[in-house]
Symmetry: D2
């Protein structure tokens, strides 16, 4: 948080059929639907999140991710980073407050890997869903499905990892927590954190720009991952892989697909990272184990990514 | 237990290299080594088992299962079943006490699927390993690896499922707890219990006689299954599939291979069965889900079986 | 099961206010309400139970247990045990089929400790709740509260443990799985099983006859025990003790009270028992640890029992 | 982390008998012994910590806490905070590098509640214990006892909560994450974070200055809390309370005592906190539930604190 970026605050996901998508993210994954706007976008959040929303679904002709936004500490940080991003050479767009309902002005910028990011300082704070901020119970009644607790991070695929490394570490103040390095010393995967979470954003090397691998949500326990897997089967949802563990971060995970083909992850556990630590390094010859710790090999589906 | 068969009491497994096998069953799976006999066989048990041993490893040129023995309530039961097995037409061999050290006389017989079974009434009772039978602690210190608690069951592949059904239900008094039935109404998988465990022995239809699919051991929790999976990766043991859940029995499981190619299972959970229940039926078109509840398809390895 | 008693099949609990009681057993504990009869009794079951009901609530002026019934294998067993119970000297009452709706004729008898028991061979089989017996999913949707899976056992307090020992082992064919023995060698607690569960019925020495300590229900995991504890707090239910572990059986448990003052238990785990094992013995000087393994002392509430 | 304090980095605990203490912290709790210095102090750490040590045991005539140190981002932060602490009016002592072996210079200061704190920027980085920083396995072999993963935080008792609030928020840049407020609006408990952990330090109102309530260590799961509870019983360690959940932070916990009477905590789970959230407030009338969520009342032992 040295430069004032606090956390992944929202992601806008393109879906082919809104009602099918709502069934996936709300009824299956257990996100809370909090709003629909005039353009038809649906806003959701995990129940532990204190801001009003973190996931925005937009109906479109192709699946994928429109943008991933990060909340910064305050407007001074927002202005400073705006200026720094300009200096770095990003294409920048200023989005006025209210374009996403209940969200303040956003600074939108692109990364060298061709992804669209945003920063913003203000969003309506509605508190955790279903429990009070005074004498709060341990968890709310009425959660559905997988009971996803929060939007946690995105994993993107793209070409210019070095440029994006520069952007996220030097401009935005993230730390490199984990990496995969090939024999020539090139990073082919890089995980960044702006907190002590093992990753707040991650990138894997890919020849094309701007690809989405998955959007990830946090669960409390390995038993929740099992129940998520059970629900995937009960609802006949396409499974990618899991339950299993990642080598990178050591989180316990399952990957599956929404009806539009976007890959979802729910996971629990995982390591923590402080900025005085050396990044964890996986070597490319161990990439299978780095990604899927138990199978120790990539499945074909893992390589598929979205526009 | 209506005819007096109590439980799966031992299994003799053929291994190609004894010291490699001991590393697998003792150091990785956490069975307790309790004896080695003059012929070089190694005897082990899970720590919760009250008899002296349940797993016998024998060095041989081919992997597989020599025999699977069941403990019966007493010698009267043993004699009665001996007679009943003769009447059924089994090939019978009487093994004198002491052939397996510390085990009483055994009645060995074959099944229509070509597997070798045994019943016996006496084995040295040494109590649970590492804890007292007076004021016992919750678990013993010093367990290794996966901390397998007991030998639980075998799954065999063979041709004459109907004959073996007759043998296990009508002669030995087991109940059919679960089955997979094809469109013509033939059972292609049958799980039997002599207790309230969902399975004490199981068979899957296969063109050849006498094949072993796996030998299974019980763990306490889904978290233990995760740690078993981690150990499989740390020790670079060949993984078959998991962590996952079975549809049949609903147990949570992982399959992997010993150095000789024998498939091992560790699992937890699973349903229970009383003899007044109807057997659970899976239909053959759902065989993938019946076997691997999350993946909902059989992997190629699943079909591989041993001599 | 040597004499043909299969399992604890039902318990009739007296409650002071039916609607409050239904909230406790159905909404909090998650039992399924399946019937109400003309006399106002409410019938419930745990979702994994294959018979129609296992818990009957009867509104009365005092709390406690009316009777605890066991299902036997068939009518031949029922008749034989009827005769054996008469020979043993029990006061016997024959209850016609239908007195409990959908239950066959019951043989009611008293124990030397002054408790009322029943055996019966027939009850309507409705299968597990919420899942099919063909291609069954892992668990049903829509379970409430603690999601109790089944009625598991009762613990009673009474005076003549030796007489009741004789009744349950010699007449009914149960095995003694665990006991607490005082310095003079008298059993002050005795746990019996008719299966491989560590206890299907248990008794603790007490100067008065016919007391109920608790009615117990099974949960799948230690995490379910935590969530049960959370619900107890959220609903402001009186807690007795837990989450903790018992020394006896090593199950993981929590005790709490229904609105009438009847003690409920939900628990998971616990050891298993085969009839060739020696019973586990706890010594009376370790009674605190035997009952509450972590606290190692009895709380005052533990000693309270019901009419 | 706005002012550059990263985390609780070490705590020096006074113990009456060093070898007894080492058995507690190393063999029972599973901390790794990494060093002993010329003055007889023993240095330990949790296996996931990247710096060389986090716990220092010093033999003394009274139990308690000598000081609690926080690692800051770098020497510039250290100098700035040094100056700010002076301005705030703390009594300050500069401890040269090497007084704690392998630790850089420390700035020691007192708080209005009478506790001794330190900040430092440098300590030898030895990496996580037992696993490599390249291709790291999920966990190391050979961990003992409770397998505590890291020193997590201290809870202190003292009088001037307002002054200490000022010190930790305004001078050191921590955020108030949780508080207990009495009817007059006074905070009687305050939890602070310098990361997204729900607490990196906590204080409860008490008439005397400078008291230690407990030193806390992190476990991975609720199942680990159970096993910790089991070990406490097996080793006959004095238990305070647990396994249970806190209302404050919602962590799952157990309290027990080292042989000198210092209270130890191991816990898992718990909420997370970002600086844009409102602090959670518990009202004093719910103090019992705030501290022990399931029991909803304080035990007598909870009120005992150390010199």
């Amino acid at each position: 948080m040295v430069k004032g970026v606090m956390r992944p605050g929202h992601v806008q996901i393109r879906v082919l059929d809104m009602e099918e998508a709502v069934k996936h993210y709300r009824d299956l994954m257990g996100l809370i639907e909090v709003n629909r706007d005039a353009s038809g976008r649906v806003y959701l959040k995990g129940w532990t999140e204190s801001d009003k929303f973190s996931v925005v679904l937009r109906e479109a002709d192709t699946p994928g991710c429109d943008f991933n936004g990060f909340k910064v500490r305050n407007n001074e940080v927002l202005d400073q980073l705006h200026s720094d991003l300009k200096d770095f050479g990003c294409n920048i767009e200023e989005i006025p407050a209210g374009e996403l309902e209940d969200c303040g002005r956003r600074i939108r910028f692109d990364s060298p890997t061709g992804h669209i990011f945003e920063i913003y300082a203000e969003k309506e704070r509605t508190g955790k869903w279903g429990i009070s901020s005074t004498n709060p119970e341990a968890w709310p009644r009425g959660l559905k499905g997988m009971k996803a607790t929060r939007f946690d991070h995105c994993l993107f695929y793209g070409d210019d990892l070095d440029g994006t490394f520069d952007l996220f570490t030097n401009v935005l103040g993230f730390d490199l927590s984990e990496q995969v390095v090939d024999p020539e010393g090139n990073r082919i995967a890089q995980f960044f954190t702006c907190s002590i979470k093992e990753h707040d954003i991650a990138f894997i090397k890919h020849e094309e720009k701007g690809k989405l691998h998955h959007v990830s949500f946090y669960l409390d326990t390995w038993e929740d991952v099992l129940r998520a897997a059970d629900l995937i089967s009960m609802e006949d949802v396409p499974l990618d892989i899991g339950p299993t563990r990642h080598g990178l971060t050591h989180g316990q995970t399952i990957y599956f697909f929404d009806p539009s083909g976007n890959r979802s992850e729910v996971f629990c556990g995982g390591d923590y990272f402080y900025p005085d630590q050396e990044p964890i390094t996986w070597t490319a010859d161990q990439l299978g184990k780095a990604i899927f710790y138990h199978d120790r090999q990539l499945n074909e589906r893992f390589l598929s990514v979205l526009t």
